[in-house]
């Protein structure tokens, strides 16, 4: 596994902690997923009041790396404030940076994202920016101090999978040494496997597991898909070709006419 700001993860599955039917089911899902990272969104209200301790204790009790999230922030200032609260509450430099630019697609405001990433990086944060597959934006994020990028697969919560295969492939090829995480839009384990087969370093998902009828079973399915995809990538997959290539030799076959 590639390292994320100096931390080597046991596997490439990052799982969100929102929207589960109950904390007990959340804990089951994490156990079955063997995920190495849990994202947790901090409501600014809870951060101010130091409330939320019960739930955060539960998340900390999962025994995985915590990646706090500025989910639902629409401006640089909001995101920076939330990041500071998260650092205090969870005692980590890691921050998943979301600056939302559009209400219907929840796609990132990439201009605000780059600015917030620069501010937070200069302040000592280790930023995981939720971005698009745009190479120019990716480059600006790296210049702003990010050492990990998290391109979207599809809009948050849509379950559409990898929407722009060409763009994501180009991104992987363009930044061969940067840890890349597919964040958002995954609905099925096969999509997670596909991302790992393409050489992405991890996938991050939430709704696909939390909103499944049996979240723990779906978490287990994603765990298998991620390790299958990762293994397949390291096994150097064959190249597709236009014509059939017989897998058994034809020379020497008897002519039957």
């Amino acid at each position: 596994m590639r390292d994320f700001y100096g931390t080597t993860l046991a596997n490439g599955l990052m799982l969100g902690t929102a929207q589960y039917p109950s904390p007990a089911i959340l804990a089951d899902a994490f156990a079955r997923s063997t995920a190495s990272v849990a994202t947790v969104s901090l409501r600014r209200e809870s951060g101010r009041n130091r409330g939320g301790q019960d739930f955060w204790k539960l998340v900390q009790g999962l025994g995985v790396h915590i990646l706090p999230n500025t989910a639902g922030c629409h401006s640089v200032k909001e995101a920076v404030t939330t990041a500071h609260m998260a650092r205090e509450v969870f005692d980590t430099k890691w921050i998943k940076l979301e600056v939302i630019g559009e209400e219907d697609t929840l796609q990132p405001d990439v201009f605000g994202l780059v600015e917030a990433a620069r501010i937070l990086s200069e302040d000592g944060f280790q930023v995981f920016p939720y971005t698009t597959e745009d190479l120019v934006v990716a480059d600006k994020l790296l210049q702003a101090g990010c050492e990990v990028l998290m391109p979207w697969g599809a809009p948050i919560g849509s379950g559409l999978g990898l929407n722009n295969l060409f763009g994501l492939r180009a991104m992987r090829a363009h930044f061969p040494d940067v840890p890349l995480v597919i964040d958002a839009g995954l609905g099925l384990p096969s999509q997670a496997a596909q991302a790992m087969e393409m050489g992405f370093d991890a996938v991050l998902l939430n709704t696909a597991v939390a909103k499944a009828g049996d979240p723990a079973a779906m978490a287990a399915a994603f765990a298998m898909a991620v390790s299958a995809g990762q293994l397949a990538h390291t096994a150097d997959p064959m190249e597709p070709r236009d014509m059939a290539a017989p897998s058994t030799p034809v020379i020497g076959k008897a002519f039957l006419e």
């Binding site: 039917p21 109950s22 007990a24 809870s46 009041n49 939320g52 019960d54 739930f55 919560g157 009828g213």
Partner: protein, 331 residues
């Protein structure tokens, strides 16, 4: 059997008192307040007796035990309306309706014409819905007031005191039904913040609770009669503030407005905020240590599950029958 003391006069305490009184016990109810009011979680309840709809995300016992609720409340009060529940979604969130249908039972699909018949004021506004005909709802404050009056009439004693259950338990059998107030004594009990509104909108008439599905903010609107509607309720893990956030207010008002534009002209009568007591599986628990029984964790299912929990408390006390939601370890 000597006198039994029940601490807490919210929905859990009053139902337990009723169940024990019905089994012939001598019952005293102690609460820090003289009357039901905004300090009690029950005051802000939606009052939906909707076990099948809750089955979308709740554990199996909630669906099964919740089916006792409508008959129980109808027998003890006149606050129950048996009109079912209508579940709808905006056209763009149809996938949520499909998923809801897959995870629930005891409904039938209704089309635009049938929705118009059920709820004339929603005519033509929604193409598809799910109708849970056997479900019911009640007016929570009226129900608790009647329940309490019935208890007083049948000889239960009410006392005002800031009670310590451990002290009462030294003198006799005590049932701690305090809800979130008991959090420092019960392991794993957490608060889940809920926010709700009461709107006055005489222009709109609804016959039954309407659930609006939405990927992020599923909400319900319950008619309370006289042009009043309860809109609820958020579920926020770890939100302990006693005030509503602007975002929650916006989302709830938007949901009401999306249901019917006339809600844009509604008056906001009340804003409620409270912490629901919940265990990690969001299923209630009964525990016993010596003379002290604790019944807690009704989460968002106070009126739905309090009758079943009260029955189990009474069976534990009177028949020594171990409740299915019994937890030995909870101190």
């Amino acid at each position: 059997m000597g006198r039994i003391t029940i601490i807490g006069a919210g929905v859990a305490g009053l139902c337990a008192a009723r169940a024990l009184l019905d089994r012939g016990a001598d019952v005293r109810v102690v609460d820090r307040n003289a009357a039901l009011g905004p300090q009690a979680c029950s005051w802000w309840a939606g009052g939906m007796l909707a076990p099948f709809c809750e089955g979308e995300s709740a554990e199996e016992p909630v669906v099964r035990l919740g089916q006792e609720a409508a008959d129980w409340w109808a027998a003890k009060t006149s606050a129950v309306h048996r009109c079912g529940t209508l579940v709808i979604s905006p056209a763009r969130d149809r996938a949520d309706l499909t998923r809801f249908a897959r995870r629930t039972q005891a409904f039938r699909e209704v089309d635009v014409d049938e929705i118009s018949l059920l709820e004339p004021d929603l005519a033509g506004r929604f193409a598809k819905g799910l109708f849970f005909e056997s479900e019911a709802h009640l007016a929570p404050r009226a129900a608790l007031t009647q329940l309490r009056a019935g208890l007083v009439a049948d000889g239960a004693v009410f006392e005002v005191a800031d009670a310590n259950p451990d002290k009462f338990a030294q003198r006799g059998l005590t049932i701690d039904c305090r809800g979130f107030q008991a959090r420092d004594r019960i392991a794993n009990l957490r608060g889940v913040k809920g926010e709700m509104l009461i709107l006055s909108c005489p222009e709109v008439a609804l016959n039954r609770p309407i659930r609006m599905l939405h990927p992020r903010v599923p909400l319900y609107i319950v008619p309370r009669g006289d042009g009043l509607f309860m809109v609820g309720a958020t579920m926020i893990e770890g939100g302990h503030s006693r005030r509503i956030t602007a975002r929650s207010l916006l989302e709830m008002l938007s949901a009401a407005y999306a249901l019917h534009p006339a809600f844009g002209e509604a008056e906001v009568i009340e804003i409620g905020v409270d912490s629901r007591p919940a265990f990690p599986d969001n299923v209630p628990r009964i525990s016993r240590r010596g003379n002290l029984i604790r019944a807690n964790g009704l989460y968002r299912h106070g009126f739905l599950l309090a009758p079943a929990m009260a029955r189990m408390v009474a069976e534990l006390v009177c028949d020594d029958k171990t409740p299915e939601i019994f937890h030995e370890t909870a101190a």
